[in-house]
Amino acid sequence: MPDIDLDRAWDLHPQVSVRPEPFGALLYHFGTRKLSFLKDRRLLAVLEGLADAPTARDACTAAGVPASDLAAYRAALSALARSSMLVERTS
C-alpha cells in the first residue's frame, strides 16, 4: 500500500480505541487485536482532528504541524493506515 493521500478525508477505524499517555498515546484495534504506540503528542492531535477536518492535510495544519514536517507525518499516518488503524472517510 502506497502512502496515503493527504488531500483526502481520513478517520480512525471505528474499532480503534485511543488512550492518551504522557509520551503520546496507545492505540488498540479491537478487530485486529493490534496495539500501536504514538511517541508524539502532536500526532495524537492530528488523529483527534481527522474526523472533523475536510482532509488529512487540514488536520495536520490545525494541529500545528509545520510544513517541513508534513512528509514525516504523512509517513506516520500511512503506517497507521497500513495496519487498518486509519480508514478513508467517505462521508
Binding site: Q15, S17, R19, E21, P22, F23, G24, L26, Y28, F30, G31, R33, L35, F37, K39, D40, L43, D69, A72, Y73, A76
Partner: protein, 399 residues
C-alpha cells in the same frame, strides 16, 4: 519528529493504566493441574459478586484498559460468567479468556463466535493424551479437543490453543501447531512458572537448557504467527530478540486481580510480598494501580544487581521476577533459566531442604478426602433434645 526514547524505557516507569490485565474470576476448577499457577480447586467464599465484578469493569472502561485476560480456576464455572463477558464487551473492554474447555458446548461456541470482542484460549499441555493428562488430569485432553472442534464448527476464527511449555511437550511443538492449524486456531506458547502448585513440580517439568535453545529457534522460525504473551523474553539473551515488548511488565503495564479482589503485580505472583491492595478498598482498582507502594517501587529504575555487568542484561533485563522469587533466587540476580547458565549455578547452591524458599501464600487446592467417623457421641451427659420434642419430660434427667 524528534528522537524519542525506546518504548521499553518508557514502559519501565509504568503507565496510568495497565495495557491489559489478568483477572482470575474464581478459584474453583473442575481440574487439578499439577502446575496450576493459582493453586486453584475450591471456590473462595469471599469471591467478588456479580455487582462487584461489574464495578471493576466500569473502572477498567474509565481507565481505557483495552482488554482483560480472564482466567481462574476455570472461569466458565461461575454462573454469571457469560453475563460478565457480555457486560465487559458492551463496555469496550475486550475479553480474552482461558478455559480448559469444559463449558465450550456447540451452543456456547456459537455465542462466542458471534462476539467480535472475545478471544478464547483453550489450554492444552500435551499434543497427545498421555503427555497432556499426566499434568492436567485424566480426560482433560478430550475436553480440550472437543472444545476446539466445537469452536471450529461454530466458525470461530483464531481461537487460541494455549500451551505451557514443559520438558515433556517441547518435543511436540510441531504437533501442537498441526492441532491448532487443523482447527483454524492460533498457537500460543507460554512459559512454565514455579508459581502456585507449579512450585512443587517446576524442578521436574521446566525445560532443559537444550530444550530452551530449541524453543528459541522454533519461535524465531515461526515469528509472529505463534503468540507467546511476551513470556520468553529471557531467551532473547541468545541473541536476536523475540517479537514483543521484551520487558517484565509486572506492576508497570500489567497486573493481576484475583477472585477475592486482591491485586498482585502479575499473574505469577500470588504471594503476600507482591500484593498491592484490593479492589474493594475505597479508591478501587484505580487507586491501587496508581498509588500502591509496591507498584511505585516496581516502576523505579532497576539497577540489574548481579546481572548489571552481563552484556546480555539489556536484552533479558534479568528475566522473570516470579520465576526468581519462587525458586528462592535473589530478585536482582539472574533468572533461574538464564540462558548463560548463571541461574543454574545459583539453583545448585540452594539448601537441600529448600529452607528459605518462599511458598505460595494462597492455596485453594482441593484436599483429598477428609476422613470422618460417623456415630453417636459415646455416653453423652445429656441426650440431645430436638427443638420439636413434644414430650413434657424431654431433656429431663432422672436421678
Amino acid at each position: 519528529m524528534t528522537t524519542t526514547p525506546r518504548l521499553v524505557d518508557l514502559f519501565e516507569h509504568g503507565l496510568d493504566a495497565p495495557i491489559c490485565l489478568t483477572w482470575e474470576l474464581t478459584y474453583a476448577c473442575n481440574l487439578a493441574c499439577a502446575h496450576c499457577l493459582s493453586s486453584s480447586g475450591r471456590r473462595d467464599p469471599r469471591e467478588l459478586s456479580t455487582e462487584e465484578c461489574k464495578a471493576v469493569i466500569d473502572e477498567l472502561e474509565a481507565m481505557q484498559v483495552f482488554y482483560v485476560n480472564i482466567g481462574g480456576g476455570e472461569p466458565t464455572v461461575r454462573s454469571d460468567f457469560w453475563e460478565l463477558l457480555d457486560y465487559a464487551t458492551a463496555h469496550r473492554v475486550g475479553v480474552k479468556f482461558s478455559t480448559n474447555g469444559v463449558r465450550i458446548t456447540p451452543e456456547t461456541a456459537r455465542r462466542l463466535a458471534a462476539n467480535d470482542y472475545v478471544d478464547v484460549q483453550i489450554s492444552l499441555d500435551g499434543a497427545t493424551p498421555e503427555v497432556n493428562d499426566a499434568v492436567r488430569g485424566p480426560g482433560s485432553y478430550e475436553i480440550a479437543l472437543r472444545a476446539l472442534r466445537n469452536l471450529a464448527d461454530a466458525g470461530m476464527k483464531n481461537a487460541k490453543l494455549s500451551v505451557v511449555c514443559t520438558r515433556h511437550n517441547i518435543p511436540q511443538l510441531d504437533e501442537f501447531k498441526k492441532i491448532a492449524d487443523a482447527h483454524g486456531a492460533q498457537l500460543r506458547l507460554t512459559r512454565l512458572r514455579p508459581s502456585g502448585r507449579g512450585a512443587d513440580v517446576w524442578d521436574e517439568l521446566h525445560p532443559t537448557a537444550e530444550q530452551q535453545r530449541r524453543l528459541y529457534e522454533w519461535l524465531l522460525e515461526h515469528g509472529e504467527n505463534v503468540l507467546t504473551g511476551d513470556s520468553f523474553f529471557h531467551l532473547s539473551a541468545y541473541g536476536q530478540s523475540l517479537p514483543g515488548l521484551n520487558l517484565c511488565g509486572a506492576g508497570r503495564v500489567v497486573c493481576l486481580i484475583d477472585p477475592v479482589g486482591d491485586v498482585y503485580a502479575c499473574p505469577f505472583t500470588i504471594h503476600e510480598r507482591f500484593r498491592a491492595g484490593n479492589v474493594r478498598e475505597p479508591g478501587g482498582f484505580t487507586e491501587v494501580w496508581r498509588e500502591s507502594e509496591l507498584f511505585r517501587d516496581l516502576r523505579r529504575p532497576q539497577n540489574g544487581g548481579a546481572c548489571a555487568s552481563c552484556s546480555f542484561y539489556d536484552t533479558c533485563k534479568g528475566g522473570c521476577m516470579a520465576a526468581k522469587f519462587f525458586t528462592g533466587l535473589p530478585l536482582d540476580g539472574p533468572d533461574p533459566e538464564c540462558v548463560q547458565g548463571h541461574g543454574e549455578e545459583l539453583l545448585a547452591r540452594r539448601p537441600a531442604d529448600r529452607s528459605g524458599i518462599p511458598r505460595p501464600s494462597v492455596d485453594h487446592s482441593r484436599r483429598g478426602p477428609v476422613p470422618v467417623r460417623l456415630g453417636r457421641r459415646p455416653d453423652p451427659e445429656l441426650p440431645p433434645v430436638s427443638e420439636c420434642a413434644e414430650s413434657p419430660l424431654a431433656g429431663l434427667r432422672l436421678p
